[in-house]
């Protein structure tokens, strides 16, 4: 990679380009899993538990089996192997064997000639349950003493079986730092759970060829992990399994582990000898969940009177739902990813994830770090006010810098956070607005960091994290075989851009062949914002190998050094005299004649020696970190509690924007999703006082309120490029980082507007109205005072400490 081009040498990289599948998507030709129909295909359905916690006493499927049109019925006993995305916490069965743990847990599945018959068959399955007391509140789950069954059996005698994971890590002198601080802010925060709600419901199709090969099509973002787990649970060799991933209609973390339907279509196909499809209903998608954990958080944060952080102390309780999912990682991430972009001399976090009898939580865009970021950035806002500093200035003073280590020993390389702050400060007109807008209107700022993939894969191994195979031939076309997971973020396009850039062919000559474990090399999946960084480097590696063969052949033909042969714009060109050139296909002919059939693999693996030297120090370690700053402007109606978010300015250090229009799309989509979590969305469940305990409160896209075009604020994406030394062309992630500051920026803007702190999410009209009324009663409902530095330079609207009547 020493011959990597610099930012200024690229032809395509850095320009706005089409996506390789863009027109297929806008003309209806794009194929998603439910668009696939196979001859003789059956339709499957899963019977789900009506109880949040119960023992399965008996299941009788005989009446269902006898129904005309039913070809197969399976129960948990047919697949009695536990699985889990994290190798250390395999705690779920494809279908429950002896216990159900949430309303919606699967207990049996049928395959029938059509959906209606399958549904009738479910009604004919008799399940006898023995109901058990259920845990809904994480505090109750944590306090449990075993007198009623835990959600999972305790792993050791005397342990609380409701605890998934406890992490306690301490760096530096935390108590000393708090003692030394001039100001200490303490706060309690609550982040309500939210779910991904991709518009495409989960869908899978299984096909068994009768002689030992299983093919599963699935709307998954982790075909490789699905491949492994299918083989393990269905007790066949991995080499017998093929996973095909059609285009995915949105995921956001919600399709990043195996789900019951994937095992069921596999098993039902093996049992019936027919292809079987299962498509979740929208209600099933809400119950499948794996979304953002509810977090109960307590922070103590200290700073000097000059506004320098001295110490941070966090205590967090994570409400995990019924299964572990990614929870072990979530528990670490709840603390590990907080240590930038601000330097903190001392830091401690104490995080505990507990099981409850609700759908399992998992990773949602900004896995595990969006919740603490909300709390911490509000803490910073409070500290800035206490030490009488503009909150942007406070953040600047604590900037951790580039090429440094965080207090928990994570390696920071490129860091464009200061440019992000400057960018949103300027674009939003911050200086004219902060503390100067009329009462009811306000601006807030927040910052954040996020990983560009993880240095250590989910299951320990030394193999490449990402790889591509590239092939060119005499026609001039480039074929790229990519195992990466296109979920709408544009990774199929990224490899095409790189192939076109490095091999000098027009973009439309590149074919990306993808999403099939039978002919693509392994890429671990679309999660933890790893894809552009890792796949991009793998693609550069493969393309560079091919480019050298072409340069060599052309150079020999021309009698010039290969390094003087450039491949660009559909031609091979001699650099010293660009008049000397040949069409790229001709150059490929020469290379094929000289070197034989032209193909190359390329791969990327993460540095394995870059992490913290302590237990857990590998978690959160990334080859590069992205940085983000937001400013949000809001209007708060104190009579109704309605918060109208007018605009969000999003500045994001993505390292290098390989295709700016796609990067902007990720930034805008992230800010939208954060806004939604701040103002509208909550994944909540009924308790015994409000209907049937454990039922989802609003399992539909009408009642679980995701923003429409009319709800969504104006969004302005401001790209910052820090040119990362290890990223492809300097690129880092852009898909998850830009979500983080949305929520605290809105919270801080509400404070600037009316002087009311919102420490619990979401900021719905009733919640805001109650907070406003409490402030009114306490006499604090007013525009907060500007920092001293601002008061010294009054402008026309300054100093309006308007008090509401």
């Amino acid at each position: 990679m020493s011959q990597r081009k610099t930012k200024w040498d690229n032809v395509l990289i850095g320009t706005n380009m089409r996506k390789v599948e863009g027109l297929a998507k806008s003309t209806g030709r794009a194929v998603y899993t439910d668009d696939v129909t196979l001859p003789g295909m059956l339709h499957g359905k899963i019977l789900r538990s009506p109880h949040p916690h119960a023992r399965i006493v008996a299941i009788d499927t005989s009446r269902a089996r006898a129904l005309d049109g039913v070809h197969g019925v399976i129960t948990g006993r047919d697949m009695p192997t536990t699985y889990g995305i994290i190798p250390w916490t395999p705690d779920e069965y494809p279908l429950c064997v002896d216990r159900v743990r949430y309303v919606g847990d699967g207990v049996a599945a049928v395959a029938a000639v059509d959906e209606d018959t399958a549904l009738r068959a479910l009604d004919l399955i008799d399940v006898e349950y023995e109901e058990l007391p259920a845990f809904f509140d994480p505090h109750d789950a944590l306090a449990a003493d075993g007198r009623t069954p835990y959600v999972h059996d305790a792993r050791k005698e005397g342990w609380n079986g409701n605890v998934t994971k406890m992490v306690h890590l301490e760096f530096g002198e935390v108590e000393q730092g708090l003692d030394d601080a001039d100001v200490v802010v303490e706060g309690e925060y609550f982040f309500e759970g939210t779910t991904h709600a991709p518009i495409e419901p989960h869908c899978a199709i299984g096909q068994w060829d009768g002689v030992g090969r299983l093919t599963v099509w699935s709307a998954t973002q982790v075909p490789h992990y699905l491949h492994r787990e299918l083989a393990r649970v269905l007790e066949i060799e991995q080499a017998q399994v093929r996973v095909i991933q059609p285009l995915v209609g949105g995921a956001f973390g919600g399709k990043s582990e195996p789900f019951d339907l994937e095992f069921c279509v596999g098993k039902l196909a093996m049992v019936t000898g027919r292809p079987v499809k299962i498509l979740y209903t929208r209600e099933e998608v809400f119950y499948a969940h794996r979304g953002r954990h509810p977090f109960h958080m307590r922070y103590r944060t200290g700073a000097t009177r000059d506004g320098l952080l001295t110490s941070v102390d966090a205590k967090i309780l994570l409400d995990g739902g019924a299964y572990a999912s990614f929870g072990l990682v979530t528990t670490y991430y709840s603390g590990q990813l907080l240590c930038a972009p601000y330097a903190m001399p001392a830091y401690r976090f104490d995080s505990t994830r507990v099981y409850t009898n609700k759908p399992a939580c998992g990773p949602k865009r900004g896995h595990g770090s969006v919740q603490p970021r909300f709390a911490f950035e509000v803490q910073i806002d409070k500290l800035a006010e206490r030490v009488d500093l503009d909150p942007i200035e406070f953040r600047r003073r604590n900037f951790i810098g580039e090429n440094t280590r965080t207090v928990n020993e994570l390696r920071i390389t490129s860091n464009g956070f200061l440019e992000c702050l400057e960018s949103v400060e300027r674009a939003s007109g911050w200086k004219e607005k902060f503390r100067r807008l009329p009462f009811g209107r306000g601006v807030g700022v927040a910052g954040s960091t996020y990983i560009s993939g993880t240095n250590y894969p989910i299951y320990p191994n030394e193999m490449p994290q990402s790889a591509v195979q590239m092939q060119i031939d005499r026609s001039g076309r480039v074929a790229v075989f990519s195992g990466a997971s296109e979920i709408g973020q544009g990774c199929d396009s990224v490899v095409a851009y790189i192939a076109a850039e490095e091999l000098g062919v027009p973009l439309e000559w590149v074919r990306v062949l993808r999403g099939d474990t039978d002919f693509t090399p392994v890429d671990l999946g679309a999660y933890s914002s790893r894809v552009t960084f890792m796949l991009g480097n793998a693609a550069i590696d493969a393309a560079t190998r091919l480019r050298r063969l072409v340069q060599d052949a052309v150079g020999k033909t021309w009698g010039v050094p290969p390094s003087e042969v450039l491949l660009a714009g559909g031609f091979a060109v001699w650099a010293p005299d660009t008049g000397r050139q040949m069409p790229i296909a001709e150059a490929f002919n020469l290379a094929e004649a000289r070197h034989g059939t032209l193909g190359a693999t390329g791969w990327y693996n993460t540095p394995k020696d870059v992490h913290g030297e302590y237990r857990g120090g590998t978690i959160g370690a990334s080859p590069a970190y992205s940085f983000t700053a937001h400013v949000a402007e809001v209007e708060v109606d104190v009579d109704t509690g309605i918060v109208d978010v007018k605009k969000i300015w999003v500045a994001h250090d993505c390292g290098r924007a390989l295709n700016p229009v796609l990067v902007q799309g990720q930034m805008e989509g992230s800010a939208y999703m954060g806004f939604a979590e701040a103002i509208m969305e909550e994944q909540v469940f009924k308790d015994a006082d409000h209907g049937r305990a454990g039922l989802h409160n609003a399992p539909s896209l009408l009642d679980y309120r995701i923003p429409t075009s009319l709800d969504t604020p104006e969004l302005e994406a401001l790209i910052v490029e820090s040119i990362d030394p290890e990223g492809p062309y300097g690129a880092k992630e852009a898909g998850e980082g830009p979500l983080h500051p949305s929520i605290p920026a809105i919270a801080n803007a509400i404070y600037d507007a009316v002087g009311v702190r919102m420490d619990r999410l979401p900021f719905t009209p009733p919640a805001v109205w109650r907070a406003v009324e409490a402030a009114r009663a306490g006499g604090t409902l007013r525009k907060p005072a500007a920092p001293a530095s601002e008061r010294a330079t009054p402008v026309a609207t300054a100093g309006q400490a308007v008090t509401a009547d």
Binding site: G22, A24, T27, V31, E200, G488, V661, E668, L702, S709
Partner: protein, 169 residues
């Protein structure tokens, strides 16, 4: 056994045809599972998300809550019917150029809502576009790029910048 089928006469994308579909099928099920027109998507199957939007006699219509019988005698246009032999509809092209489709699952429905808008209002304001798309949930984009695409398509259709951005790779 499977449900008995009935014959209905449909006009889909200009093709008048007789279709055998179970009597309780929706227009969406008929399009996707009988006619194989899988461009139209099912996101919720209850009229909440708008992914199934098609154009029925010029009006954006939720095909997942429209019984197939109600489409008899109407002109149905799906996402597959927007392009012509000359190429994609300018809005389809602008969706690609502007990054308006990320995962693409809501895209067919949004295209149908937006094409119907452009037919009744060739030069919509951003506010009109927002209102016209309020029944189509997009989970990826935050909608901004979709507005850009609709505005660019309107300009192209009105000849204001014919081919202006069409020369990008």
């Amino acid at each position: 056994m499977t449900a008995p089928k009935e014959i209905v006469r449909l006009d889909v994308n200009g093709d008048a045809q007789e279709v055998g579909a179970p009597g309780h099928f929706t227009l969406l099920e008929t399009l996707r599972y009988v006619l194989g027109l899988t461009g139209t998507k099912q996101g919720c199957d209850k009229g909440d998300c708008g992914a199934c939007t098609v154009i029925v006699d010029g009006v954006p219509t939720l095909s997942c809550i429209t019984p197939v019988q109600e489409a008899v005698g109407c002109r149905v246009v799906t996402v597959e019917g927007l392009a012509t032999a000359l190429g994609p509809h300018p809005l389809q092209d602008e969706f690609d150029l502007n990054g308006a489709a990320q995962c693409g699952f809501c895209t067919p429905g949004i295209l149908c809502s937006a094409v119907a808008l452009l037919e009744r209002n060739p030069a919509p304001s951003r506010e009109s576009i927002r209102e016209a798309l309020a029944g189509n949930l997009c989970r990826c984009t935050g909608y901004s790029k979709i507005y850009d695409a609709v505005e660019a398509a309107a300009a192209r259709l009105n000849g204001a910048s014919a081919g202006g951005q069409g020369d990008q790779p």
